[in-house]
């Protein structure tokens, strides 16, 4: 399998007045053209890991790694200009809530066209046609109507489809999806995931799927990384999730209420200090 991304010993530190907050403390993994899930609770460093790869770490943070390599390019040592070219073109990111991540004063169509024209020299008419085709690919029925709508005029599910269209239009090789469906209703969630799944499979992209939902990630991905306190505590094939060994992973699986299971009280996580070592 061709290696798309190599992350070795990634660290992200935030210096604050009360000391350094270590958000990510030495994370290593490799990614080919496959679907990798990163799971953890808030503060586990999963989003900062994704943002570091995308190059969206805040300017005040310190980022270091033994290796952070995307198809032969050293992401830590690359000039800002080249990094900008990568971002959106070869590495793209879907964020959680379309209400906040889309530009509110620009029509959906224009935002998609903007992405395309930022990375390709292409005429207006052709860009519009490709944007419309992309909107159809994410199963928006009246693509030409939605093209002219503003983000506040569409539902959350529609907004997230537009977001996916925008991220995929430049044909990235690596897609980072940070909680792409957490802000959506459950039934809409499934539609969006089905669209994402098909597009990622058809185009042979590498996908990093970041989520707090262990069950969801394991049904969507090939491999799952479980993070706790800035570190990877367990890495396993998604199909082996039921046989997870780390008590944190098992605890996370166990503490969810399930329909038809009569467990009162629910088992809770007994956090051991040594997990965070």
């Amino acid at each position: 399998m061709t290696r798309l991304l190599t992350v070795d010993g990634l660290k992200v530190d935030f210096p604050t007045r009360s000391g350094v907050v270590e958000a990510v403390r030495g994370v290593s993994f490799t990614l080919g053209r496959e679907r990798l899930g990163i799971v953890g609770e808030s503060g586990s460093g999963k989003s900062q890991t994704g943002r570091a790869i995308m190059g969206l770490t805040p300017a005040n943070a310190r980022i270091s790694a033994e290796r952070l390599n995307f198809s032969g390019i050293d992401l830590l040592d690359v000039p800002a200009r080249q990094r900008r070219d990568l971002r959106g073109k070869r590495i793209a990111m879907i964020l959680q809530d379309p209400k906040y991540s889309l530009n509110p004063v620009m029509s959906i169509g224009r935002q998609i066209v903007e992405t395309l024209r930022a990375h390709e020299t292409i005429g207006r008419a052709e860009a519009r046609d490709r944007a419309l085709a992309m909107l159809e690919a994410v199963q928006i029925r009246e693509a030409s109507r939605v093209f002219d709508l503003y983000p506040h005029e569409v539902s959350g599910g529609m907004g997230q489809r537009a977001m996916i269209a925008m991220m995929l239009i430049a044909g990235p090789e690596l897609l980072i999806a940070d909680e792409p469906t957490s802000a959506l209703d459950v039934t809409v969630q499934l539609e969006i995931l089905a669209i994402l799944y098909r597009l990622v499979a058809d185009r042979g992209m590498g996908l990093i799927f970041i989520s707090h939902d262990l069950g969801l990630v394991s049904s969507f991905c090939d491999r799952v990384i479980v993070m706790y306190a800035g570190r990877i505590v367990e890495e396993l094939p998604a199909s082996e999730l039921a046989n997870a060994e780390h008590p944190y992973t098992r605890g996370l699986l166990n503490c969810m209420p399930r329909i038809g299971a009569d467990r009162h009280p629910l088992p809770v996580l007994d956090r051991k200090p040594e997990w965070a070592l």
Binding site: L190, A194, Y197, F220, I259, V268
Partner: protein, 251 residues
């Protein structure tokens, strides 16, 4: 026996938008009742209308068999308290936990304030060490415990719970759900709980109403839902969706 909480044909209209289109339900004394639906189904509006936070256009709310008037008096809030969804938004950012808990006591003219605050903190598992902290010094789960303590401190008989755990991590959610069940059995409380998550509602409630577009879709018992004996397609869709993503071709 009259129901602890009875709602009859409740209708809420905001500027011509019908958020709630005539919903009725009865919650028995000591029962835990769930409302499930997606965004825009009117489930939160129903809860807010009961608490007097949404304009009731039509319909009746009765507590312990007594009809509640258009305004809510102090006696109503002694009986009915609410816990909101977002613990980051529902606690005053510049008040200490002590002051947050003191306010309802002062409004209702309690005198044994000291003892009550300590007991309330103890009951939600926080201990007196948290008493003089500000909400920004607490985690999401701790904040929601404070919100629960604030609701319980007046010793209400009915608790309205609006997605009390949806802003929390899964492991913290389990702790808060356990806490809610504990206080319910200790005090014989009646719950009316809103959630978008079928699994949480079947875990916490004996009966539930599925809502869509401001209307009732169907009424079920938790055991019906667990046995998948549902009659409406909408409920079936929700059930399928709650089982998670299934890859194409493997279904």
């Amino acid at each position: 026996m009259s129901a602890a909480l009875a709602i009859e044909g409740l209708r809420v209209v905001y500027d011509g938008h019908h958020a709630l289109k005539g919903v009725s339900l009865d919650v028995a004394q000591g029962e835990s009742y769930g409302l499930v639906g997606e965004s825009g189904s009117g489930k939160s509006t129903l809860l807010r209308a009961i608490a007097g936070l949404a304009p009731v256009t039509e319909g009746e709310v009765s507590v312990d068999g007594e009809r509640v008037g258009p305004g809510r008096d102090k006696a109503f809030y002694r009986k009915v308290q609410m816990v909101f969804q977002d613990p980051y938004g529902s606690l005053h950012p510049r008040h200490t936990v002590d002051r947050l808990l003191l306010e309802p006591l002062a409004i209702h003219g309690f005198t044994d304030i000291e003892a009550r605050i300590l007991r309330a903190l103890d009951e939600v598992g926080l201990g007196s060490g948290f008493r003089f902290r500000y909400s920004h010094q607490l985690s999401g789960g701790q904040r929601q415990r404070v919100a629960i303590a604030r609701a319980l401190i007046l010793e209400p008989s009915i608790l309205l719970l609006d997605e009390p755990t949806s802003a929390l991590d899964a492991s913290v959610q389990a702790e808060v759900l356990n806490l809610l069940e504990q206080v319910r059995s200790d005090r014989g409380l009646t719950f009316l709980m809103v959630s978008h998550d079928l699994a949480i509602v079947t875990h916490m409630c004996e009966r539930l109403t599925v809502m869509q577009n401001g209307q009732e879709v169907e009424r079920l018992s938790a055991s019906d839902l667990a046995a998948r004996t549902v009659t409406k397609d909408y409920t079936r869709n929700l059930l399928t969706a709650s089982e998670g993503f299934v890859r194409e071709g493997s279904a």
